[in-house]
Amino acid sequence: MLYVKKELLQVLKKEFKDRVRELPVFRGESTVEVDKEILLPFMGFLKHDERFKMDMLVDLTAVDYPGRKPRFVVVYHLRSIPLKHNLRVKCWAENDEVPTVIELWRAADWLEREVYEMFGVRFTGRELRKLLLPQKYPYYPLRKDFPLEGKETPCEVWDWE
């Protein structure tokens, strides 16, 4: 899989200074870490800039690091169909909140809802509902402290809505 070249990553650094950090390349996959405050302008830049043209949000997910603060990192996989390159963007969710990117990529709609229900990360600027589990389900199952077998939940949680 083709990833964004080193020179282009320098462009990002020039544009956003130290608010964008380059993470070590592993198996040829480039990742950048970006501050929450500039996430939206940064993503907008990636989407509209001629050198990047990231027109597809391939995937949006989160990873839980219980010992760390902030605890969750939201991971975006971006791709440019015309230029064929990819980039992984990470954004730490301070106060468990991240701005939504639904205005840029509609693909984020269900993916953000899924991250919200699985991790409890709230995406600001949009309406959030649970996607897979019932709306009344009280836990966030993909958090590391949630047991695989689940916790006791009252019957009416699972009722037909």
Binding site: L133, P134, Y139, P141, F146, P147, L148, E149, G150, K151, W158, D159, W160
Partner: protein, 161 residues
């Protein structure tokens, strides 16, 4: 049963059982993998129709629930309702490990088997069972129906399950 010169001698019970086992109409409903095998069993090579099995799309015309696939807790109340919507007499077959015990999916969102919500007549192990196993299940169920006592003295019909 015996036929002599156009006269047909049998017990009413046997006639009823014969009729019931010859026209099992299952509900065309599946949740996961085994549903694909059920489709294969109904299609060209295996041809379920010759058993008198015709899939119906509404529970109100069915007398057999062939439960194929994992049952999630969110789905459980709906399956229960489908079962209750089916007219008596009715039977249930649990196909595959998921419908028997939950299989490998021992997680927060799966039910540990169909028998938690519905009385099951025949269990078919396998993941996924081959269409031949569906035959076996049907033949076993027919044997069970043959033993049924649909009429009890006093004229009141009892539920055969």
């Amino acid at each position: 049963m015996g036929v002599r010169e156009g006269v047909f001698l049998t017990k009413l019970e046997e006639l009823i059982n014969w009729g019931r086992k010859g026209s099992l109409w299952p509900l065309a409903f599946a949740t996961a993998c085994c549903g694909i095998e059920m489709m294969a069993a109904a299609a060209s090579r295996y041809d379920f129709d010759r058993f008198g099995v015709i899939f119906r799309n509404t529970p109100r015309q069915c007398d057999l629930l062939i439960m194929c696939g994992t049952i999630s807790r969110k789905m459980a109340p709906i399956i229960k309702r489908l079962w209750e919507q089916m007219p008596d007499p009715k039977w249930a077959i649990a196909i595959g490990s998921c419908a028997i015990s939950g299989n490998i999916f021992q997680t927060y969102s799966t039910l540990r088997g169909l028998d938690c919500i519905v009385p099951v007549d025949v269990y078919v192990p396998g993941c996924a069972p081959k269409p031949e196993a569906f035959y076996e299940a049907l033949i076993l169920l027919k044997k069970k129906i043959k033993r049924d006592r649909p009429i009890i003295v006093g004229g009141e019909e009892e539920c055969s399950t």
